[in-house]
Symmetry: C2
Subunit: 232 residues, 2 copies
């Protein structure tokens, strides 16, 4: 862990412990430099992390103020993490509906940014939060990068498997957000009506070296799923 990550974690803890509830501000940059014995740049890097998470906002000439945002039960969009981290204390089940290896045709090759004929895992999952169907997920993984997947991995955490077992590091993700009507099959799986609204997130996830390894289309239950982000 870098110094600025350490400082960011410390500050996040201190904010969550309400240490600054009187002032609604964190200490000044100079004070933090002294407290943690680091340079200004390191403090600023730490603070940038917290700002992106929506915990703070800076006011030039005045201080770094703590935010009070109501993000109850929402999924945080500005991260490569999934539902899991945003629903602490809930029971999440991933039901594997379908898993197969296919060869990329022209269309798949195009959005997977790979050659035609590349082996691809195609997976369908139903994600269930606290016994209620939450989302239907259609995912393509490049098998040249994720060499092996099975039902067990797919039903637990694929991300953890990729990170901890395969030792791959995530870089960034593109997200396309839209809405459409549910298909009949989706409505049955989500226990909603056909033609009910669905919020769709297409998620293209890249490794740190810039290669795309995963493209998902996730169909969320519109009565349950709400998303949150903060922009500058």
């Amino acid at each position: 862990m870098t110094k600025y990550e350490f400082v960011a974690n410390q500050l996040a803890d201190r904010i969550n412990n309400n240490e600054f509830k009187h002032t609604k501000k964190i200490p000044t940059e100079d004070q933090l430099m002294q407290e943690y014995n680091v340079s200004k740049n390191t403090i600023r890097n730490a603070i940038k992390i917290l700002t992106k998470l929506g915990l703070l906002y800076p006011v030039q000439g005045s201080g770094m103020f703590i935010r009070e945002i109501k993000k109850y039960d929402t999924i945080f969009l500005s991260g490569t993490r999934g539902i899991t981290k945003d629903h602490p204390g809930t029971h999440i089940e991933n039901k594997c509906l379908h898993i197969e290896v296919i060869e990329a045709d022209e269309k798949i090759a195009q959005f997977m940014l790979c050659e035609q004929g590349t082996p691809i895992y195609y997976i369908e999952r139903l994600r269930i939060v606290d016994e209620v169907p939450y989302a239907v997920e259609y995912t393509y993984y490049n098998k040249n990068i994720i060499h092996y997947l099975n039902k067990e991995i797919v039903e637990s955490s694929i991300y953890q498997y990729i990170k901890e077992d395969l030792k791959l590091t995530f870089g960034f993700a593109d997200k396309y957000i839209s809405a459409r009507k549910l298909t009949e099959r989706e409505s049955e799986l989500l226990k909603l009506q056909k033609d009910d609204p669905a919020i769709i997130i297409e998620d293209n996830v890249y490794l740190a070296n810039g290669t795309l390894f995963n493209s998902s289309q996730i169909t969320y239950n519109y009565q349950l799923a709400h998303f949150f982000m903060t922009a500058e």
Copy 2:
């Protein structure tokens, strides 16, 4: 304009002009430091801007690679700008459906983060892109901050008015994204069917000093509106 903003603009232009199409990389940090005669930090700040816009991704030890993303006809979510900037070359019309000044009741005071009784502009607009109804927008402005609004301003660009005439600077924005069914009135305005899907963005915009001045709920035409963002 700061030096790093200048460098970021220059680089964005050079990328758009395909200057780096052979290498698919921009010059190294050291090269850019020399070219623009600035320090490493300045280059890094510039590059961070381009990374957030999704134009670049960094690979440690290798270079800064140019991205090729298909964001045709989408609205970029990671910004406080609206539709306007994302639809160059299109004709945008804002039809004012309703404008009135009200006093904040308990509920409004809560989400506008103001005292009860604060004067508030409540505005309804229909946004039309290239003659097609695009979104229905319900907006609250704190009248203690935005002292005056009228139909003309509301039908042109409110943001430009706030920025250039009132000389206020935007800070950050929270966005909540969800889906629901259209109301009957919305379906008529958007020329869709009642109970058709709608993608909803609730947008809370803050000034640089951290005060909330604007809360909108925007109901987008699901057949036209698609959103894009990039996350780390």
